[in-house]
Symmetry: C2
Subunit: 337 residues, 2 copies
């Protein structure tokens, strides 16, 4: 649910987010709010994702249809994170008059819902105050008898990630500089693809022990997986650099690309822990079936925390929020909670 990146939800709210995470599981609730979605006893999966103009999207960067589609895709990605089958979604939209903007936002939601095979079950639609930001709140409903949780990773497991990393962040960086992003980056931001079928296949065929979707950047999200599983994680800088989006700009070096891959956020790819004994042919079959890469990026270790093996080798360094090479003591909080 939480999302980082150049556009972000704001650290002021970390305390209340902590309260939401810590909600005690209630009767009838199998998985509480600490994971990507709540799971009820009967396998119903629920998650909500709020996108506010000026915070999560800007309408001088993308169209209202894009904004609606992204908002719904972000929520649907929480179903992918749980390896759940989509049942449907509900969308609340607010926009200043006239209704054309609200209409376009809802159209984007419908597009993402249709692409995921998830019917729109209902919604609410209201005007926002004139000049006020538009917004889209999407609730997704899914089903699974075996949710893929953040907990469950064991030392010795390998970490794998689908697709490429950092393209959405590259788009935001370009727009923030007043430039047009490269086409692949713009596409990644405008039309993220929740990995719904992919997640169920990985759980069922590759025996994933834990997983989540990458909304905050793999640096932070690997920390969430590690903390929930009571383990640590070592990320392979060379592997991440090979998956990192390249803008093609002359000034865009390895460091910038790796930083976006680690901390850019909103990739909506999957990060999963797979057993060490994984059969390579399974990975090959995944790639053929989904026309999508599935790449090893690190391993699960007993020691808590997230550490990075820098590109080119060298000693493991603790990964800290806001940068992978801030060595100064106290320079930042560990990215694992």
């Amino acid at each position: 649910v939480s999302r980082g990146g150049a556009l972000g939800s704001g650290p002021e709210f970390d305390r209340i987010r902590g309260f939401l995470r810590d909600l005690a599981a209630a009767p009838g609730v199998r998985v509480g709010p600490g994971d990507d979605a709540a799971v009820l006893d009967d396998g119903t999966v629920l998650s909500t994702d709020l996108s506010v103009e000026g915070v999560h999207f800007r309408l001088d960067w993308i169209s209202p249809v894009d904004a609606g589609r992204r908002a719904a895709a972000a929520a649907l990605s929480d179903l992918a994170a749980m390896a759940a089958r989509p049942v449907g979604l509900l969308a609340s939209v607010a926009a200043p008059p006239p209704g054309t903007l609200a209409d376009a936002l809802m159209e984007g939601v419908r597009e993402a819902a249709e692409a995921a095979g998830a019917p729109l079950l209902g919604g609410d639609l209201t005007r926002a105050p004139t000049g006020g930001p538009s917004l889209v709140d999407v609730v997704v409903v899914g089903r699974t008898s075996r949710p893929l949780l953040r907990s469950g990773a064991r030392p010795g497991d390998r970490l794998w990630v689908t697709g490429r990393l950092g393209a959405a962040a590259a788009a935001v960086e370009a727009w923030a500089r007043g430039e047009e992003p490269d086409p692949a980056a713009a596409r990644a931001f405008r039309d993220p693809r929740p990995r719904i079928a992919e997640a169920r296949w990985i759980r069922d065929r590759l025996g994933a022990t834990a997983g989540l979707d990458l909304s905050d950047g793999i640096g932070g999200d690997a920390g969430h997986l590690a903390a929930a599983s009571g383990v640590g994680v070592e990320l392979d800088g060379d592997a991440l650099l090979a998956l990192a989006h390249r803008t093609g700009a002359p000034a865009d070096d390895d460091r910038a690309a790796l930083d976006r891959a680690l901390h850019g956020g909103e990739d909506y790819e999957l990060l999963v822990a797979l057993p060490e004994s994984l059969v390579p042919s399974g990975v090959e079959e995944f790639r053929r079936r989904f026309d999508l890469s599935l790449s090893p990026v690190g391993r699960v270790v007993p020691d808590p925390g997230v550490r990075l093996r820098p590109p080119g080798g060298g000693d493991l360094v603790p990964l800290r929020r806001g940068g992978w090479d801030h060595f100064a003591p106290g320079a930042g909080a560990e990215s694992s909670p």
Copy 2:
């Protein structure tokens, strides 16, 4: 879901709301978005309700905790409308920094959730742009094997309503004039009570054939029930006047009180159709058990539309949107869709 009143969602959006209402029922969906909530094949009930500052609430009128409580109560009232048992809710909150406002809004949501015995299953929390409105979007999840629908009322059934009508509208009118509302009106607006247990009791013990919660005022909502059931409705002006909130102000006459009861909105009481053969002792038992009135206010007839028998008697007059006595042809749309 839709709400009228002095604060309202805006007619600009009626077209898109119509689209939401007309969504075809998808596989696995028992009741589509045309009712107060969607019902899945397994009896899961879902509804969403968005409250935006400056549109649905004003923080110079009520506290942020009140605003959060009201938003959650409005959503929970959709579960009451379906006679569903609450399973839980998800709340998305946005507010400008610092986090204290978001915290208070979420606290109000928690209060309403606790009062309804519905655990908070999850949520999302984000900053709104500085100066931007705060907002609360609440999704409720419930269960029922026998949803109380808007359809099902038959000619000959009587219409009954819980509690009193028009108090929330009286509060809004007072605040809009820069005055403090009378205490009962302020309380009705700040702390509406979704009639969750009441609705299930009425369905199970009194054999309700149709029902909904009053969010737009009984004039409009009776039209929704009539249209969904393919019948007409005659409302009894004397009965409504007896239930109408009185502000106690010298200028507050019968006409003003009846107008608020008919069109004020946000009462969150129940309007139900009960069989003509209803046993009076059942109604008495309801009143004792819930310490709440249950009053006859009209009857179901074959002819479509909503008609009012004016207080003191006289001919039935068609009820039109925006007023119960606008006789001029074409002065307004019929309040039934």
